[in-house]
């Protein structure tokens, strides 16, 4: 098991716009962490800090007992994979050519992918069940397919943690559920998945850890069943929300009530 821990992280765009305020956490591989928060709270920024893309003002992030700042980028990439929200490629790569770049952290700077790397990429493509896309052009597949391709690339990277920035954002409802199922099965395979989402119901569906980032930059973490309650969710999103157990779904559900206008 690999642990990703943060100690007293601070991050602000400007002195009066605090995004992360003295936050600490401990995420483990084999766990799903759903990061919730209203628009502009800094969910993506938080994820980018974890991926070492954004320099923190203060505080330290550790992979096990090693400070992430003291690990070369290539070594960090062996532990943390990243699935961006959306990629608009400037050039026309095939899905296989794209997925195989996930092997980059395991290769030398001057080397090129060899058969073994293409095999790893193919395994990842098969794992995601998108073999039929292998030789398709990345720019000519749908948003849902791109999401799966991006996850396949993260798998080819063989990390302990996969960070996903709003993996459901551009997808229809069916594809959203599909991605969440994938996330769930990645957990079963031992990956730690840390994702941001706009939908608190997704966090309930995933039934694991939740990290709530509010507008003042405070992070509260815990099991979804412990942390999420009607009052806090209503306050967090600034709109009335109901949290209840639905027998037919066999789970807790978070949804908005009928409008009273």
């Amino acid at each position: 098991m690999v642990q990703l821990t943060g100690h007293n992280l601070h991050y602000s765009y400007t002195p009066d716009r605090m995004i992360l305020k003295d936050i600490s956490f401990r995420f483990k591989s084999g766990e799903i962490v759903s990061i919730l928060g209203p628009n502009g709270a800094g969910k993506t920024t938080f994820l980018n800090c974890l991926a070492n893309l954004v320099p923190l003002d203060k505080g330290e992030i550790f992979i096990d007992d090693k400070n992430i700042k003291k690990i070369p980028p290539r070594e960090v990439a062996k532990v943390i994979g990243y699935v961006p929200q959306i990629i608009v490629p400037s050039f026309d790569f095939s899905v296989l050519e794209y997925v195989v770049t996930g092997c980059a952290p395991h290769m030398g700077t001057l080397s090129r992918p060899k058969q073994e790397h293409y095999d790893i990429a193919m395994d990842a493509i098969k794992r995601m069940g998108i073999e039929k896309l292998t030789n398709r052009s990345y720019s000519q597949i749908s948003g849902g397919e791109r999401q799966q391709v991006s996850i396949a690339r993260a798998l080819a990277q063989r990390p302990s943690f996969i960070l996903m920035d709003e993996p459901t954002a551009h997808l229809d409802y069916g594809n959203q559920i599909k991605v969440l199922k994938t996330v769930r099965s990645l957990k079963e395979e031992g990956y730690g998945v840390i994702l941001t989402t706009h939908n608190p119901d997704h966090a309930l569906l995933l039934q694991d850890q939740v990290a709530i980032l509010d507008r003042s930059g405070v992070l509260s973490t815990g099991l979804s069943t412990d942390v999420l309650n009607e009052r806090d969710l209503t306050e967090l999103y600034g709109t009335e929300l109901k949290l209840f157990y639905e027998e037919r779904l066999n789970r807790d559900v978070c949804a908005a009530p009928q409008f009273t206008i």
Binding site: N48, A51, N52, L53, P72, P73, R74, E75, V76, A77, K78, I80, G81, Y82, P84, I87, V88, P89, S90, F91, D92, F93, S94, E97, Y98, T101, G102, A104, P105, T109, L110, S111, R112, P113, N135, S137, S139, Q140, Q157
Partner: protein
């Protein structure tokens, strides 16, 4: 995407076409010879050189060795270098509309060459000054974002625009104070590009830069794929972004600067040849870059052969590359219109 086999076939075809065009270019011109004569001249000249008989070369041998071979090699090398740096720039800036001029290398080189012309310097001093000022312009463009502590691509492009614009104005000043009949026309002629004055020794000066630069960039070509996905993706794949971007920009700028320093500015090649390469073998830089280099060499060789044979006067290269390149570019866009976003 073409398979490995069709990629090899395409490369083989381009190599054969390049060899055949070189032979044609060796034979045609004001002093036309047939291929047998051309090869005979090459053999006998080399024989004289090796045996050090002290025999004077014949007129035909001179035409072949002093004029045509350096010119052919020059056109191929310059075409390949401009295409290579164009391909690299497009990947680094993840933008297929970028050409190596974007950081001011060409306008800088023009200022250098014009300064040498005004000072009455020799051809060599012109080449050196063009190279130095061209490269200085790029370094200045890369220094501005560092001063502003903003490392984004956009900042780099904007600073390139500033440096390029400034260099153009300096060039304007130089043209303004130049002697109209002699200096001004030299500057303008230089800016239109020509490989006429490429000699064996000029090639020898720039050969190490071309060779070393091409080898390094080809070795880094797969990493360039990752760079073309964007900065954050490259970082999360463990790429040392700063170093990779720095190395590739400096090397491809050096290639462009040395090409421009011996041939003047030649437009369009750095922009359209990578496009043509991508259309032929796909976007994977490990295949596209070698392919674009062959295509660029072939393209400029054809252009230069037309330039020196079609009329009794030499046609400047940029005129031809523009007249032929612009329609080709339009055709390329039409071919991939569905994919242009």
């Amino acid at each position: 995407m073409p398979s490995q086999k069709s990629y090899r076939l395409i490369m083989l075809f381009l190599t054969v076409a390049l060899a055949a065009t070189s032979v044609i270019a060796l034979c045609v011109g004001r002093y036309s010879i047939n291929p047998a004569e051309a090869f005979g001249a090459v053999g006998s000249y080399l024989g004289k050189l090796l045996n050090a008989t002290g025999e004077k070369p014949t007129a035909m041998e001179n035409v072949v060795f002093v004029l045509r071979i350096p010119r052919i090699l020059g056109a191929i090398v310059i075409g390949a270098a401009l295409s290579l740096s164009g391909a690299v720039y497009q990947s680094v800036f993840k933008n297929p509309l970028v050409s190596p001029d974007i950081l001011g290398v060409s306008s800088g080189a023009s200022v250098g060459a014009a300064t040498a012309i005004l000072l009455g310097g020799s051809l060599l001093s012109m080449q050196i000054l063009a190279f130095v000022v061209g490269l200085a312009a790029v370094l200045l463009s890369t220094a501005i974002p560092k001063l502003l502590k903003n490392n984004s691509n956009l900042m780099l492009v904007l600073s390139g625009t500033i440096v390029g614009g400034f260099m153009c104005s300096v060039l304007g000043v130089l043209k303004f104070i130049a002697e109209e009949d002699t200096e001004l026309s030299s500057i303008i002629y230089w800016q239109m590009g020509s490989v006429q004055s490429v000699k064996m020794d000029t090639l020898l000066y720039v050969a190490p830069i071309f060779l070393a630069g091409a080898v390094i960039l080809i070795l880094l070509s797969w990493q360039l794929n990752i760079l073309s996905f964007g900065e954050n993706e490259a970082k999360t794949l463990g790429v040392n972004l700063k170093m990779l971007r720095g190395i590739t920009i400096v090397i491809s700028s050096m290639l462009t600067a040395s090409a421009v320093s011996i041939s003047g500015t030649i437009g369009w090649i750095g922009l359209i040849i990578p496009h043509l390469g991508r259309l032929t073998v796909g976007s994977d830089n490990t295949k596209m870059i070698p392919c674009a280099m062959l295509m660029g060499g072939l393209f400029l060789l054809v252009m230069d052969t037309i330039a020196r044979t079609v009329t009794s006067l030499e046609v400047p290269l940029s005129i031809l590359t523009g007249l032929i390149g612009a329609p080709i570019y339009a055709w390329l866009l039409w071919k991939q219109k569905a994919r242009v976003m």
